[in-house]
Symmetry: C2
């Protein structure tokens, strides 16, 4: 069964059935000209992100389930990085008429699981045909008591990251080499259990491969939790540490000094990158899609995150293992370039 046999009207009915549950605050959900929600009593956050076939995803190695899951994570990450709580989602799909309904079904499974994880409800969207590639957009609405902007970093603030970076970029490199899908439907690694085995890439154990490709295929947006109460500026690492730190510095009109030896690299990243002949550090500095939070906080705060540097007046430098400083540039993913 293909989309062309289902048609737009029936697909909307199918979506309404699957995502029917009435959530708090929704006055009109899917199926009218616009969704209607009870206005929240706190600051309203709105963000939107698009994923384009061949640029953001390759259907030869991401499954439709993972695509749906990831689309939500990517958008929720932008709400989390403002110190907010995500609430509602709108979904725009443009797909070819001959898309299989089984594809659409699995995509919705992933979307649903991801939405449930973050406590988000689908309230609307738009379906349309595309001639060739698939384009997916999501818009997420949320709330924040105190929105954390990119522009709040002060000279002397410390710079933190919420977890390991570079894993997702290394996962992508592995997938490009292996070129087959791994139908994971859960973000936690199976710790070496299950299918896969050591034969996928000669000399690289499944234990090293799995967490990296899983992080790329099923990323989890990092909830800010305690950081939200004291971070002075925050951004999510979606395009790469250096480019995203650059953006934070631009908005805050400050500089930054970060230390190579403080950048958190997972043992799997080191092992797999070395196997691929890539620099784990380069993947960590310029690779995107880790969806960790990069934030700054006053040095007086006790912070439960990884300290990687400090905010300076204007110079933007990276300090190597020998203590030598080198200016950095906004390396990372930038569209159109």
């Amino acid at each position: 069964m293909k989309l062309s046999q289902t048609g737009e009207l029936s697909l909307i009915e199918l979506i309404r059935d699957r995502f029917r549950e009435k959530s708090r605050g929704v006055i009109v959900g899917i199926g009218d000209d616009a969704a209607v929600i009870k206005p929240p009593d706190k600051n309203l956050l709105v963000t939107t992100d698009t994923m384009v076939e061949k640029f953001h995803f390759d259907l030869s190695f991401i499954t439709p389930y993972q695509l749906g899951f990831k689309l939500v994570s990517v958008n929720v990450s932008d709400i989390y990085s403002m110190g907010g709580k995500p609430l509602f989602l709108l979904l725009n799909i443009s797909a070819k008429k001959n898309t299989e309904m089984t594809f659409i079904d699995s995509f919705f499974d992933g979307l649903r699981d991801s939405m449930d994880r973050y406590g988000v409800n689908l309230i609307g969207g738009d379906l349309s045909s595309s001639y060739r590639d698939m384009t997916l957009s999501a818009t997420v609405l949320g709330v924040a008591k105190r929105p954390i902007r990119r522009s709040g970093a002060k000279i002397g603030d410390k710079i933190y990251i919420s977890g390991n970076i570079g894993d997702s970029a290394c996962g992508l490199e592995l997938l490009k080499k292996i070129r087959k899908p791994f139908p994971f439907s859960h973000p936690s690694p199976s710790m070496g259990k299950g299918k896969g085995g050591g034969e996928i890439l000669r000399g690289l154990p499944w234990k090293a491969i799995e967490p990296l490709i899983r992080k790329h295929l099923l990323p989890i947006a990092r909830e800010p939790k305690e950081f939200a109460s004291y971070a002075s500026a925050m951004i999510d690492v979606s395009d790469g540490l250096l480019i995203d730190l650059w953006r934070l510095c631009n908005e805050s009109k400050v500089g930054a000094r970060i230390y190579i030896k403080k950048i958190p690299l997972s043992s799997e990243l080191k092992q797999a990158a070395s196997h691929l002949g890539l620099s784990p550090l380069k993947l960590a500095l310029s690779g995107g899609e880790d969806y960790e939070l990069l934030f700054t906080a006053s040095p007086k705060k006790k912070v439960k995150a990884i300290h990687i540097g400090e905010i300076t007046e204007s110079e933007r430098v990276i300090v190597d293992a020998t203590g030598r400083e080198k200016p950095f540039t906004p390396e990372g993913y930038q569209h159109f370039v």
Copy 2:
């Protein structure tokens, strides 16, 4: 100069500069992970619509200015059809790297003029590369004191339409025949003045052609005004009168009887359709993109709109000039089919 020479970071800066003005209620606008707005005190409306190259627009006869203008109108129409007031816009563009910056510039001019017309402010969005076709999405947020749903029509209510329909579909047919752009940048016809002349389609005067193609290229969303206070159900005619009336009936769980002789057809539509060998009535019933409002109201109300029929218990019929009733089906534009 192409997008690839500008790059995503510079394009975002360019957009911020052009759409900088701070509007009421915007706490954080373009350039952070999410926009932050002061929650409105009335019902919050959210809608999103996508326009895909080759399905929704053909760059061989729509100019970038018109594309930007139309993208806003199409989305605002969904807010108007809920009886709401549009406030904020988010924009998603996926475009090829070799898109000319002059194209982007004109697109923004159209976007700006349309936003100004509706009193809408740009607060965010997403830019990304596409491999082939251009995909544009917009999300519009608005407010409504009393949102008018599709589901409120009652048996015995009268059915109204806010203006002529079929013009846009006929305009599209003309454009498909003429296959060249008309760089209009204002929605009001020049009333036969200006370039064009009678030679574009032999035997069809420019006076008949112009309002139709203008309505297709630069549609204006119809503000509900007084209807908003008494309409029992409302929808905008975006995909065609019959399909949109069908949707309204489905949501209200009612039927409808409409009268062919009451359907408002412009003299230009009659003239041009006859010239093209098309039925003006068919264009009016099944053609989309007029963005007029189709609504129902109690027969007790004095309504300043065109009465075309009434809500029935369940039958859905169209009455021809001789008084004969014929069931109608949801004809009009449906994606994937």
